[in-house]
């Protein structure tokens, strides 16, 4: 009898263990909302507004996925994660996907059992210093105190940069962007380093952004993108192609304003027709209906619209498209064809 109970328990364990790994799509549909891991607050990328609604460049990706899968861009529960907790939250199933300024690296993709489904922002690590210090290059920072978020790739780049250039520094490890901001503004550290986009976003929230400069050196490649668990390829495909749909929509001139009109009936561009579901069965192939991409684009607009609205040059963050322009405009943003 003891033995059969043991085998029963073992079997139950196997079932539970197996269930954690697969069918995120079914879980999301059954739950009726998408659990999306975002940062704890970075203006322009993911931060709650005055009434508590999350908004930003990364948030828009979550909303597009929710719109494609569930038909409702508001059916998202945003779960703030720190640099340290994000991968555990994803691996344990607490969140269905991460859209959190996460750098795509070899070991994260393979050893940590994550799947990066693409890049939504090409970034690099930079340094911000108060203008009053009179520093013009990162190589002048010998002996400086540097605020750095723990559990990030920037922490490792920082150590390498100072070691290779044979200059010393004093790291001040902190957990969140808000803490870094507090220490930096109190001059407890001379320098704040993180992805250049994050620096711009942080500077935008200062009282006098003009008193701080971002140094010209970009010391690393930081391709940031949404992440899902390794092993659930159906779910990975949905998130990957939702992002690609936003990118293709910009390339093909589909915007949140004209998507309704374009999906009214077949146009004479077959790729637009396939993307918007008026021709072919692309939706079926990823287990969704044919209007999935229409809803994703309608949620927050195409890639370019999302960029301009949240972090573009007319926002306080004020980032130029640069590397993140479409490949047709000399950037790196490029979606495989919808065919």
């Amino acid at each position: 009898m003891q033995k059969s109970v043991f085998y029963g328990a073992l079997a139950a364990a196997v079932v539970i263990g197996g269930a954690a790994g697969a069918a995120t799509l079914d879980d999301v549909k059954a739950r009726g909302n998408l659990n999306c891991g975002v940062s704890t607050g970075l203006v322009g990328f993911a931060s709650p507004d005055a009434s508590g609604n999350w908004e930003g460049f990364d948030v828009a990706v979550c909303r597009a996925v929710a719109a494609a899968v569930l038909g409702d861009p508001q059916a998202v529960e945003f779960i703030p994660t720190t640099g340290k907790t994000r991968f555990t939250a994803l691996a344990s199933g607490e969140v269905d996907m991460l859209a959190r300024n996460t750098t795509w690296t070899f070991s994260r993709d393979t050893d940590l059992k994550l799947d990066f489904i693409g890049v939504n922002y090409y970034d690099g690590q930079g340094f911000m210093v108060p203008k009053a210090l009179g520093v013009t290059s990162a190589k002048d920072l010998d002996g400086a105190t540097v605020c750095i978020q723990t559990g990030t790739t920037t922490e490792l780049n920082l150590a390498d940069f100072f070691r290779v250039n044979n200059i010393s520094y004093e790291p001040v490890p902190i957990e969140t962007n808000a803490e870094a901001q507090q220490q930096y503004l109190a001059e407890a550290c001379d320098v704040y380093t993180t992805d250049a986009s994050g620096l711009a976003a942080t500077r935008a929230s200062f009282e006098s952004p003009g008193d701080h400069v971002i140094l010209p050196e970009i010391i690393s490649k930081e391709p940031l993108g949404p992440v899902v668990r390794h092993g659930d390829n159906e779910w990975g495909d949905i998130v990957r192609w939702t992002l690609n749909a936003l990118i293709s929509a910009e390339e093909l001139g589909i915007t949140s304003a004209n998507v309704g009109e374009l999906s009214g009936g077949p146009t004479n561009n077959p790729e637009i027709n396939r993307l918007l579901g008026t021709e072919g069965t692309l939706g079926d192939m990823i287990g969704l209906d044919s209007e999935w991409a229409q809803r994703a684009i309608m949620a927050e607009g195409n890639y370019g619209e999302i960029f301009e609205k949240n972090i573009g040059e007319n926002t306080p963050v004020g980032l130029a498209r640069g590397l993140n322009a479409q490949y047709t405009e000399g950037g790196l943003i490029y979606s495989p064809p919808f065919r």
């Binding site: 196997v14 539970i16 790994g21 002996g143 790291p171 490890p173 957990e175 001059e187 407890a188």
Partner: protein
């Protein structure tokens, strides 16, 4: 006629396991043990299955790979090219530093406050009550963050010390700088240093021991030994002749002179902190994170220790105080010679658990960016390698070892002060 028959020989029936009080407790214990073991087996097999389905195996190979991150407070040599094991070792030393410093100051403050709370001076007693209640009833994490915020926001940055019209200057004869990045104090330097001796070769646990420090400790120990011999000799003379020879000048000389000679021979001098570039250079840098953590943990734990000390003192009958007073002892000496030694018997056991609490609470260090063992092994290493299970199991084992070690030493001390029964 009465016949004597043997009582019927009882045969063992299975139902007796439940209905017979001789077997019942055994039965229940066996069943409970089986159930417990099943639960443990289920948890382990579930973990292994889940890890296997994620494609992860339990392995510790990552420890020999380069850590690639820097640690600001390192007691031994460490660079970002050292291994994760070395980084964890640095974290362990940082944990031990703050735990030892915290336990010492918490004990001193706790004893003083505990005694003062019983003072007949109304104001002192009330102030101590307010202190104890404030610190005991607010979570320690808040005190840690609060202490850090005060240090960062209220102290001047190094820039205020710079230039012609500096608004701040170093204190104590230009040797101590108090900034919002920490306190810079002079460091001991030896111009004719004996050098270091390296233990454990080039391994990740290598440990440099300063021979200067060893020499100073050896000389001090020898001085103290001679000091004790002189006192024993003086007592013997007093017992034999009734006259105690004057020895204090010998004793002071024995304690002070050899150490001074040694320091002079080693070329001892102080290295003062100086403003250089962005920060102060030279001197010893006590970082804000260490100070905030140390202050908050000490004050928080001291509030508990104060209550234990107060309870211990109240446990000693008032007759002891009155008896000591009638012998002509003054209140200070009554406390230190009569009351406290007896109160220790009551105080030590709960004191142990407060030392353990302080050590475990030091794992909140990452809140102020102090890289203790939780910040290195359980923080950055865990995050960069993705080995949650291995890192956390090891972390738990390390805290268990630290706590058990503290318990062992405190229990030995407890035995020494315990009432000897004859």
């Amino acid at each position: 006629m009465a016949t004597m028959t043997d009582p019927p020989r009882e045969s063992f029936r299975l139902s007796m396991l439940i209905y017979d009080t001789r077997y019942r407790s055994l039965t229940i214990q066996v069943i409970a043990l089986f159930a417990f073991m099943l639960l443990v087996a289920w948890i382990i097999s579930n973990t292994v299955q889940n890890l296997a389905s994620l494609g992860k195996e339990v392995e510790f190979g990552f420890f020999s790979e380069p850590a690639s991150y820097d640690i600001n407070q390192r007691l031994l040599d460490y660079t970002s090219r050292d291994t994760h094991l070395r980084a964890s070792f640095m974290g362990l030393l940082n944990t031990l530093v703050v735990a030892v410093l915290g336990c010492i100051t918490a004990t001193i403050i706790g004893v003083l406050v505990g005694v003062a709370r019983l003072s007949r001076n109304w104001l002192i007693a009330r102030i101590m009550t307010v202190y104890v209640e404030m610190f005991r009833n607010v979570p320690v994490l808040l005190w840690i963050v609060f202490a850090m915020a005060i240090l960062i926001e209220s102290l001047p940055s190094p820039r205020a010390f710079r230039g012609e019209n500096a608004t701040q200057s170093l204190i104590l004869n230009d040797s101590v700088a108090i900034t919002n990045r920490g306190v810079y104090v002079p460091e001991a330097l030896f111009s004719r240093s004996l050098g270091d001796v390296r233990l454990f070769g080039e391994s990740s646990l290598r440990f440099d021991v300063s021979l200067d420090l060893v020499a100073i400790i050896a000389v001090l120990a020898a001085s103290f030994f001679v000091f004790r011999r002189i006192r024993i000799w003086a007592e013997r003379v007093q017992n034999e002749t009734g006259n105690r020879p004057t020895t204090w000048h010998f004793q002071v000389a024995v304690l002070v002179v050899p150490t001074f000679i040694l320091l002079a021979a080693l070329g001892f001098h102080l290295g003062k902190p100086e403003l250089k570039g962005f920060n102060f250079a030279g001197g010893t840098h006590l970082r804000n994170s260490l100070i905030a953590l140390w202050i908050a943990l000490s004050l928080y734990t001291a509030a508990f220790i104060a209550e234990i000390v107060r309870g211990g003192i109240l446990a000693i009958s008032k007759g002891q105080t009155e008896a000591a007073g009638s012998l002509g002892l003054r209140p200070n000496r009554i406390m230190s010679l009569v009351i406290l030694p007896q109160a220790l018997r009551v105080i030590i056991p709960p004191l142990i658990s407060n030392y353990l609490n302080l050590t475990k609470n030091s794992s909140l260090a990452i809140a102020v960016g102090y890289l203790d063992i939780t910040g290195t092994l359980g923080g950055i290493t865990l995050n960069q390698t993705g080995r949650e299970l291995e890192c956390l199991l090891l972390l738990m084992l390390i805290y268990l070892c630290i706590s058990l070690t503290i318990s062992v030493f405190m229990n030995i001390y407890n035995k020494r002060v315990a009432l000897v029964e004859r």
